[in-house]
């Protein structure tokens, strides 16, 4: 199996507080990997370590290694800016820029040096199509992104992440601020996206993890308790804590 991320003995500390402790796992290419666990278990910290966004937090300390395509992302010669282009991210609350729909999607390509208008238009159209939003917005690309509904805004954020041509897309509880219909559209989209990208999704929603993911990692108090194929985790969990969590008896 082809691993795109190989995480080895990763620990993250916020000052004296432990974010995650000694986590080792492999994320597989073109699969959906779900990360589940109760609030404060370190799942978001884990996700934000993969694109080094966690480094924006004051006083954070990282130990261990994360190999991305065989290269440790914490090596001195790795540029976090280039890493974040290759590892896109979609956040819990839709956060489009207060710009037009077009400018939102074109933002990434523009800051990475693409100036040609036709090329940008091509990227915007392609990204919006991949995010299943093109038909809804193609006639109003110059309108404000903030006029879209919550679900549309979240798909716009997905299109924005796709536009930098990443290899991995990280989703940090992408549906927790959305209604059920908008959520199911995002879920369908995540399954569709794994054909081209590797998808890693942090979710509070255990059923969502079961529906969309190929692999599931269960975190508890900063530690990785169990990591396996999703069917295995949900049908024959090896750890008692995992079983109690997914059946709703703890958490």
């Amino acid at each position: 199996m082809d691993a795109i991320f190989d995480v080895r003995n990763l620990s993250v500390y916020y000052g004296d507080k432990i974010g995650i402790k000694d986590v080792s796992l492999q994320i597989y290419r073109n699969k959906v990997t779900a990360v589940i666990g109760p609030s404060g278990c370190g799942k978001s910290t884990f996700l934000r370590t993969l694109n080094r966004l966690v480094e924006l937090v004051e006083g954070v300390r990282i130990e261990g290694r994360v190999l991305f395509d065989g290269k440790n992302i914490f090596d001195r010669d790795v540029d976090p800016v280039e890493l974040r282009r290759r590892v896109g991210m979609v956040f819990q609350h839709p956060n489009p820029f207060p710009k037009s729909i077009f400018e939102n999607v074109a933002y990434g390509p523009k800051i990475h040096g693409i100036k040609d208008r036709e090329k940008l238009q091509e990227i915007v159209e392609d990204s919006l199509k991949k995010a299943a939003l093109w038909d809804e917005v193609k006639d109003r690309l110059s309108e404000s992104a903030l006029g879209l509904s919550g679900g549309q805004q979240q798909r716009l954020c997905i299109a924005r992440a796709i536009a930098t041509n990443p290899e991995v897309i990280l989703f940090d509880e992408p549906t927790s601020a959305l209604d059920p219909i908008a959520s199911s559209k995002i879920e369908e989209l995540m399954i569709e996206l794994k054909k081209r990208y590797t998808v890693i999704v942090v979710t509070h929603n255990i059923q969502q993890a079961a529906r969309i993911s190929d692999y599931t990692a269960f975190f508890w108090m900063g530690e990785l308790v169990e990591y396996d194929r999703t069917e295995k985790i949900f049908e024959y969990p090896e750890n008692e804590l995992t079983e109690r969590y997914i059946t709703g008896r703890v958490g």
Binding site: L56, H93, N95, K99, E143
Partner: protein
Amino acid sequence: MKTENISDWLFMMLTFLATVFGIVLLSALLVMTFYEAAGWLDIQFLTSPPSRFPEKAGIYPPLLGSIMMIALVGIFSVPVGVGAAIFLEEYGSGKKITKIIEINISNLAAVPSIVYGILGLGLFVSTMHLKPGIVLVGSLTLTLLILPIVIVASQEAIRSVPGGLREASIGLGATKWQTIRNVVLPSSIPGILTGVILALSRAIGETAPLIMIGAATTIFTAPKDIFSPFSALPMQIFMWTDMPKEEFLYGLAPAGIVVLLAIMLSMNAIAIVLRNHYRKKLRW
């Protein structure tokens, strides 16, 4: 029950009187000023130099002096003030030294303006050997005076940009500077502009620091460039209140006040128009 109703009504009346007190006095002042200024405000007044004869006297040189000075203050204070705010909010935030700087900036905003006049005199005239009383020295001194206000207002505007937007930009692989330029600054421009223009309105009414740096109370030729000696509107108004003829105190000074008020109000109007324009551009 009854007594409660009465005390309730009394308290309401007290707060109402407190509200009305300031408004009535202020409007009385304004009405009197406008009434006295009415006969004197004309094109001749706006385009003539001051004179010993009330009917020939005008306000053109100090008017131009004030406008030139305030334009320069804007040019100096915006880049420095916004730059400092960006540093404090985006690069230095959370550090101990930043907190110390911030406390000092807030304190500086409360320092009496005459102290800035002394500072301007010592720094620009005695140390840098610029001529006293020229437009440039006046502008630099008032820039020092309003910088704390500009910095604090810009900081607040920058702070109000949602953290999610910064994360989104960084998450797309933007550098810190790209994020500041493309996301943070465009979103905070309305707030920054409002702060800057309010600070400029304060600067245009200042008199004390200009006296300290040796600006003229009355000058008969308008400044030609930033190295010319100048006077400003509040100084000319003050001069007129001290003249022996009654027409100066009860006619020309009120007319000068109306001109000064008109400039301040139009600056505030510009602030509102610009703010709305940039808000629209932001597509909130």
